[in-house]
Every structure is written in C-alpha cells, then in structure tokens.
Symmetry: C2
Subunit: 178 residues, 2 copies
DNA sequence: TATAAATAAGCGAACATTCACTTATTTTTG
DNA sequence: CAAAAATAAGTGAATGTTCGCTTATTTATA
C-alpha cells in the first residue's frame, strides 16, 4: 500500500481491510500507526543490510570486497523491489532518522573497517570517508534508481543489467585506486 | 509545512491557517490538494533545473562544464535547503513521476548534447549515457544528502564544503576522462 | 461624470467522509 | 473452562471540499 499509493493513501482502516482482519487486530500487534511503520521499516532495513554483508568480510581485497557489495546490493534491489521502494518511502518520512540509525547499527562498523583496511593496504586512495562512500556507492544507487523508475535521464527506457553494472564498477575502481 | 512535519502533518485547513487565509481561498487557486502539491513540485523543479543550467553550455569543455554543473547544483542545495527538501518529499510521493517528467523537460536536451559533444571531442570515455550520469552526478547527490541529513554514514557529523566537493570532483574526472 | 451593473476575490460555517484508536463481545485454543 | 486472540461496532477528532454570502474593484450605462 505504501509503495502503490504513498503515505496519503495509507491508513490503518484500509490496511486492515486489505489484510482481511479487523482494525483492532492491528492494535494487538502494534501500539499505534507510527509503531507499525517503524517496525516495518526496521525489519526491511535489517534484511537489507544483512544481505549487503553476505559473503563479505572487511578483510577482503578492496576491489573484490566492493564488487561483492555491489552485487549484493543489486541482487536485493532486483529481488525485492517493493521492499526497497517501501524502505525508501519510510526513510523519507518523519521516521527516517530512527529507521536509519536502527538498521545501520551493525552495518556501519563493518564498513568502517573495510575502508580503513583498504587504505592501510594502499589499495585505496586515502580520502575522506564521505567522499569514498559517495564515489563507491553513489553511482550504483543512481543506476538502481533509474531501474526502479524504469527510465533514465531523458525518459528513455532503462533496465539495470550486469553489463551496465560492470561498466560503472570499473570506472569507480579507476577513480578510487591509486 | 511539508518539510517540517512531512505528508502526515500537512493538511489544507492547517495550511490555510498558517497562510492567514481561508481554506476556501486555496480552492480558488488550486483545484484540489493534489493539484496544489503538484504545482508546488513543478515550480520548485523548474527553478531547480533552471539554476543548474546557469552559465552552462553544452559546448563547454567537458571538465569545465561538469564543474559548473556541480557548483550550480551545490549552490542551489545550500541556498534553498527547504525547497530542495520539499521537492525531495514530493518526488517520493505518489506524484513523483509526474513532477519529475514535468520539470526535466528542458533540462534533458541540454544534458544529452553535453554528453555527446564531450564524447565526440574525446574528452570523455565513451560509455552508456546512464553509466555516465551515475558516475558524473551520483557522488555529488550522495554528498548533498549527507549534508542535508547533517551526518554521513556511521552517524558522524558532516558538513558539505568546497574542499569535499573538489576532492570528489577530481576523482570523478579521473574516472570519466580517457 | 455619477451611478449602476458586473466581476473578481475572499470568507466563515458547514458538509460528508475518513482518520487513528477503543470497548464490549465473541471465537478460538490449549 | 479459562486464557488468549480476534472481532464488530463504534468514538470523537480531523480531513478535504463546498456553499451561500460579503467586500472590493472594474466596466458599462445614462
């Protein structure tokens, strides 16, 4: 409902009707509407970041590790487009901060280590953490947004593919490695 | 109101009260709530993309042209944070597609020319348009999002600066130029 | 030019509907 | 049969929207 109709079309009464349960039943499992939204957001976020770290270790060689993260991220986006879209909506709502801080908890430590390891091993140009992040993931996120919207800049049709991803990935590596 | 309280806290009656007019007056100028939101979104979007093209020409040398776009984009984000945040909220609502297609109309032609010119002049590695866009602007957008949220990955405080922007920009140029 | 007619702009109060949430009752389960 | 789970049927408050009416400005008429 959130994805298809946005926050405006999302209400407890309508949700209950669609689910085939009474409104009151919702309030057995969730304290209130905010609680429900938060819990959905956190649940998606947990899965999201858990998937991101699959077969990944902060000790991996930089290029290999980043590639794995791109693959995991892309796989999740393609497999669960609704969940991703829903997460995006909730993150852009008033609960955004809470959701993010809650779901990033485990993820951020792993990423911090990965970054510092790579710099120490001289596999990564020493730059600010934010700049690193923006170059390393910004392009991927942009491509996935194009895919979600079904079209790229200019309105022409676009579909995310392994080939597109690898083309972008090589350029990112070119930018980040000494 | 949209920025400070989100879609949930935004109603026609409250808007009218804050504006110091009657609710009925709003309906003289806007057909309904959706119409009002759309028109605000399109207005911001038009300004947004107009600013992006200030002092820019598709014939400029690639590096110079891209730098100008980065500067224009960053300047707008820092000067009108509320407008940008509002635009972001509306774009993530049910009206997102309409707003985007409406405000991108003029912008996309200029960007297409810029891209093709640069490839023809061999100032830009020949790649897919979407890959180009993702590398060229993805990092900037990511940095501006960090700035808006006031913190970067991991929760540490972050403030967008010219220095940060230039560090990222040089890496993007490194990735995109032959 | 003075006055009447027409139009534009705005308003408060009300409309039906929907909202998040609750209570009192019934059904299911162990 | 007792506890837990689910429900139907509400609650008042808030929602988007409209109605009948007033005030201010412009245009047309005598």
């Amino acid at each position: 409902m959130l994805v298809e109709e946005g926050f405006q079309g999302f209400s407890m009464n309508r949700l209950a009707k669609v689910c085939g349960v009474s409104v009151a039943t919702l309030y057995i499992y969730y304290a209130d509407k905010d609680d429900l939204i938060k819990k959905i957001g956190v649940e998606i976020g947990k899965n999201f970041f858990c998937t991101m770290l699959k077969d990944f270790s902060p000790d991996m060689p930089f290029k290999e590790g980043l590639k794995k993260q791109w693959e995991n991220r892309a796989k999740f986006a393609l497999k669960y487009p609704n969940e991703v879209a829903c997460y995006d909506i909730i993150r852009h709502s008033a609960h955004g901060d809470y959701i993010l801080s809650e779901s990033l908890k485990d993820f951020k430590t792993a990423m911090g280590s990965f970054f510092h390891n790579a710099v120490a091993k001289k596999e990564l140009t020493p730059i600010g953490l934010e700049v690193f992040w923006s170059i390393a993931y910004g392009p991927l996120y942009t491509l996935l947004r194009f895919h979600k919207e079904g079209k790229s800049i200019g309105g022409s049709a676009f579909k995310f593919s392994k080939k597109t991803m690898e083309e972008a990935f090589e350029l990112v590596i070119k930018a980040l490695t000494p």
